[in-house]
């Protein structure tokens, strides 16, 4: 069955000041209604300050990273979108006409990019409104309905969030700063819009639910009407919204109190020169430039700082070896320590030094991982860490007697191996490793063990 899915994604832009006033934006860190002024609470007579240039700049950068054409040297009106809700202090939200469009990401076309402002936060149970969030800049990204399954949609959102994070100009997704309106239609049915989706996981679940719901309706010969539904995160279902809300006419007018934006072409080009390489393009480049696998490249570009580190190290040591380490051991260490790549303190040279020793077999990969863990905790030259941990590679003439001793003391395992129990060799390898104080390469031990036992 033919499925069409499209998104309107809203993401907060990480500016220090709000969009049309000078209030701070750390709305989650302060008591309710403290980051407020007459402007962001819409007091009678309050007029907006000129739009926050940093927010405009961030939206342009995001547009460029998504391959959009920025509409330079023309008037882009800031419009008033009227609707009546307690979180909206003036009864309208300010939203720009598209400032860019015609981009794409993972084959999904980006229709247009807008600048908006966040409303306050309404608590229907207590009947309270907190205006701390009111006026925080948002970028709105509208896609064409190009996704054909909930899985594809999820992949797209993940890629999109990665692009947004690459700019370094949005609030991290963890803060629940991403919100999406999800559009989905099945062949033969009307388009359904699902509001109130606050995460990638939520979008995926809402879509899965809608596919099933709409498919069942169509199967039974019922029609799927065009409507707006709300996603209930706690129950993982969507429910119809009140008819009034769906038939709303926003009565857009250009805001008479704000000059339209005019984006200077030269200024936009400067942003383009300065901006980071978008992750999806960087992934392709890493694959062709360093001849690494797509799986490794995907991990490497997952964070901008991780990719920067990779490229710095890959210039010094074999890029393929570095890629394997990034995908496996480095990722493991970072996950274990709950570190983001941005938090890494050691230098590319230190990591390159470590990997060079592994390449030259001065260290086993396992020893290397121990050093890496230490490096992440207390950055230092790898030689110093090795000395501190007492990690030096064992010599062959030292290793052979230990192997002989292990065989001597574990005759049962030796017999087992000889009678065809392959896994017994792992047991023996472990014993030797223990006796060497983990200084030997397990692959080397296994090779020597088989040589000895097999000789008899």
């Amino acid at each position: 069955m033919n499925i069409k899915i499209g998104f309107e994604v809203h993401q907060q832009i990480a500016t220090r000041r709000k969009m049309y006033c000078n209030c701070p934006t750390n709305y989650q860190d302060v008591p309710p209604n403290t980051n407020v002024c007459p402007i962001c609470t819409g007091m009678p007579g309050a007029k907006p300050l000129p739009p926050n240039q940093r927010a405009v700049e961030a939206a342009v950068e995001i547009a460029l990273m998504l391959g959009c054409r920025v509409y330079t040297n023309q008037t882009i009106y800031i419009q008033r979108k009227h609707y009546d809700y307690p979180d909206l202090p003036s009864g309208y939200q300010r939203t720009s006409l598209p400032l860019a469009g015609g981009g794409s990401l993972l084959g999904v076309r980006i229709r247009e990019i807008h600048l908006e402002e966040d409303p306050g936060q309404y608590d229907p149970l207590g009947g309270n409104v907190d205006y701390n969030r009111s006026g925080i800049p948002l970028v709105e990204i509208v896609t064409e309905p190009d996704m054909k399954s909930p899985e594809e949609a999820r992949n797209f959102l993940r890629a999109l969030v990665r692009v947004l994070e690459y700019t370094g100009k949005v609030r991290p997704e963890a803060g629940g700063a991403m919100r999406a309106d999800v559009n989905i239609s099945l062949e033969g049915g009307g388009r359904v819009e699902v509001k109130n989706v606050n995460s990638i996981k939520g979008a995926y679940r809402a879509l899965r639910y809608e596919v099933i719901r709409q498919r069942e309706k169509l199967k039974r010969g019922l029609s799927v009407e065009r409507e707006t539904r709300a996603f209930l995160e706690s129950q993982m279902v969507t429910v119809p919204m009140r008819v009034k809300e769906t038939e709303e006419d926003y009565r857009y007018i250009p805001d008479p109190d704000i000059f339209p934006l005019i984006l200077d072409e030269g200024w936009v080009e400067k942003i383009r020169e300065r901006m980071a390489e978008p992750p999806h393009l960087r992934e392709s480049r890493l694959i062709s430039e360093y001849k690494i696998t797509r799986a490794a490249a995907e991990v490497i570009v997952s964070e901008r700082e991780l990719a920067d580190l990779y490229e710095a190290v890959a210039r010094e040591v074999d890029p393929k070896l570095v890629a394997i380490w990034f995908r496996t051991r480095l990722k493991k260490v970072l996950n274990y320590m709950k570190l983001r790549a941005a938090d890494i303190k050691f230098t590319p040279a230190q990591l390159a030094g470590l990997l060079r020793m592994v390449r030259d077999r001065q260290l086993t990969p396992e020893q290397g991982e121990l050093v890496l863990r230490e490096l992440a905790k207390h950055p230092a030259e790898p030689e110093k860490i090795i000395a501190r941990l007492g990690l030096f590679p064992i010599k062959r003439e030292e290793l052979l007697p230990i192997i002989a001793r292990a065989i001597e003391e574990n005759q049962k395992a030796v017999e087992d191996y000889r009678s065809g129990k392959e896994e017994a060799i792992n047991f023996l390898t472990g014993k030797v490793l223990q006796l060497t104080g983990r200084r030997a390469d397990p692959r080397e031990i296994t090779r020597l063990l088989i040589e000895k036992i097999g000789k008899k």
Binding site: P38, G42, M43, P44, G45, A46, K47, P48, L49, P50, P51, R80, H82, D84, P86, P89, S90, G91, Y92, D249, Y250, R251, Y252, I253, P256, D257, I258, F259
Partner: protein, 457 residues
């Protein structure tokens, strides 16, 4: 003739009249006369204390501002911290401003004393002063007649000499119309010259705050206090402050080209026109060159104006949803406010996009181009302010009859140019004002012409 603004200011600065005495006598006069006129909604309880502070400065020989000790009434749609900005509406009847509008900050910085909040047409929607939720205002210059509007209270207060200066607002004539009917001076500045931060919305693309006063010098003084660039809002002209009082020292009109138009007499009561024509002859005698200009689409401005105002007013009043400021505006407002909200709501519908609002903006462009073209040939354009005489208070008139008061004033708002009013004489004992329209930032020429006429008597 009563004492001029500058003479009084000199007496205060010279210690001859204390600011406190000036405030006290204003309060006394208000106490005595305003029960009948109804030009103030609320008085500033700190006015005397503020005046005493100015007096102390004068005594100590400190520098005092250019409004030192003068009493200033403020239209009730401008925020003054601690006073109610009611917009003469029940919606905002208990709204106490938490902040000063930018113009109020500038007045305070020049030691002007805010004496109180003036009555007005509800949300500045009206041309008669009768739509206030706090009752109509009488016209002290023609008792029993409307004072005009919507800055009705300010104009009446000046006419009755209840205070020295007033701040009005003008979206389609709301300063000039009552100035004309009350026989005083008023000026609508160029759009974007005076900051609107703190002015409650009527038609945001047209609204301007401006002065009302008994003489041209007072208007110049208040204008130079409030005008000039502000970083605290978007739609401002990036212009330095101008010392208008200084420019008024130039008394001659020699070499000035003054435009008149046939259009004005077509639209105006002949009795009013006769008074206006008399003034034009005076201008000729004073050395100005009178030039006929062509304004073929002038009257088309009125309907475009009411469409634009209604849409912007609808948008601006959405915040009065009953959640924050008393009751929802539609539930408690008067007829004219409701009419404009409903009209704005109707014509801003998606299905009418391009049909009304956009068309109105096109007409606005047409009117603006026509006026700007005329200003390539002349320095100012003079004519009547209001095409007919004010009706008697309480007379029932239709909305169209009410809107017809605005034919001659809305073009200046649509074009964003400046326009002042000075008394031209009387018809049947009722004052009639001459309107002087100037180009964008043409305030110096406008004030010069107004002063020349004032001086000629």
């Amino acid at each position: 003739m009563a004492e001029g603004t500058l003479a009084k200011l000199a007496r205060i600065r010279g210690g001859e009249l204390s600011a406190a005495e000036n405030v006290a006598s204003a309060l006394e006069r208000i106490q005595e006369l305003d029960r009948r006129i109804n030009s103030f909604i609320e008085l500033n309880p700190n006015a005397l204390a503020e005046a005493e502070a100015v007096d102390r400065k004068i005594k100590r020989g400190e520098r005092v501002g250019k409004l030192a000790g003068l009493t200033i009434g403020v239209k009730s749609n401008i925020n003054v911290a601690g006073l109610r900005a009611t917009c003469a509406s029940r919606t905002l009847q208990n709204y106490v401003s938490p902040y000063d509008a930018e113009v109020i900050k500038r007045i305070r910085a020049e030691d002007g004393i805010i004496i109180g909040m003036n009555n007005m047409d509800e949300f500045a929607c009206g041309s008669s002063g009768e739509t206030s939720a706090f009752g109509p205002t009488d016209n002290p210059a023609a008792p029993g007649h409307i004072p005009g509007g919507s800055s009705s209270g300010g104009a009446a207060a000046i006419a009755a000499r209840l205070c020295d200066l007033c701040l009005g607002t003008d979206t389609g004539g709301s300063i000039r119309n009552p100035a004309s009917h009350c026989g005083i001076v008023g000026l609508k500045p160029t759009y974007g010259l005076v900051p609107r931060q703190g002015l409650i919305d009527l038609g945001m693309s047209l609204d301007q705050i401006g002065p009302l006063s008994a003489d041209v010098a007072g208007t110049a003084l208040l204008l130079e206090t409030i005008a000039g660039r502000s970083d605290n809002e978007c739609i401002m002209l990036n212009v330095d402050r101008v010392n208008y009082s200084e420019l008024l020292r130039e008394k001659s009109l020699k070499g000035m080209r003054i435009g008149i138009s046939e259009k004005f007499s077509e639209l105006t009561d002949p009795a009013i026109m006769k008074v206006i024509d008399g003034q034009i002859e005076k201008l000729r005698d004073l050395g100005a060159e009178i030039v006929e200009v062509d304004l073929p689409n002038l009257e088309r401005g009125l309907s475009a104006y009411y469409l634009i105002v209604s849409v912007e007013f609808f948008s601006g009043t959405r915040k009065f949803d009953g959640r924050k400021y008393g009751r929802r505006i539609e539930d408690v407002c008067g007829e004219e406010v409701l009419r404009r909200i409903l009209r704005g709501r109707y014509i801003s519908q998606k299905e009418y996009r391009g049909k009304f609002y956009q068309r109105a903006l096109q007409v606005r462009t047409l009117v603006r181009r026509e006026l700007l073209a005329a200003f390539e040939r002349v320095d100012v354009i003079v004519g009547p302010t209001v095409p007919k005489l004010p009706h008697r208070l309480g007379t029932k008139i239709t909305p169209m009859e009410m809107y017809a008061y605005d034919y001659l004033t809305v073009p200046a708002n649509l074009a964003g140019i400046c326009a002042g009013v000075v008394n031209a004489g009387r018809v049947n004992g009722i004052p009639v004002g001459l309107q002087v329209q100037g180009r964008v930032l043409g305030e110096p020429e406008v004030l010069r012409v107004m002063q020349a006429l004032e001086a000629a008597g």
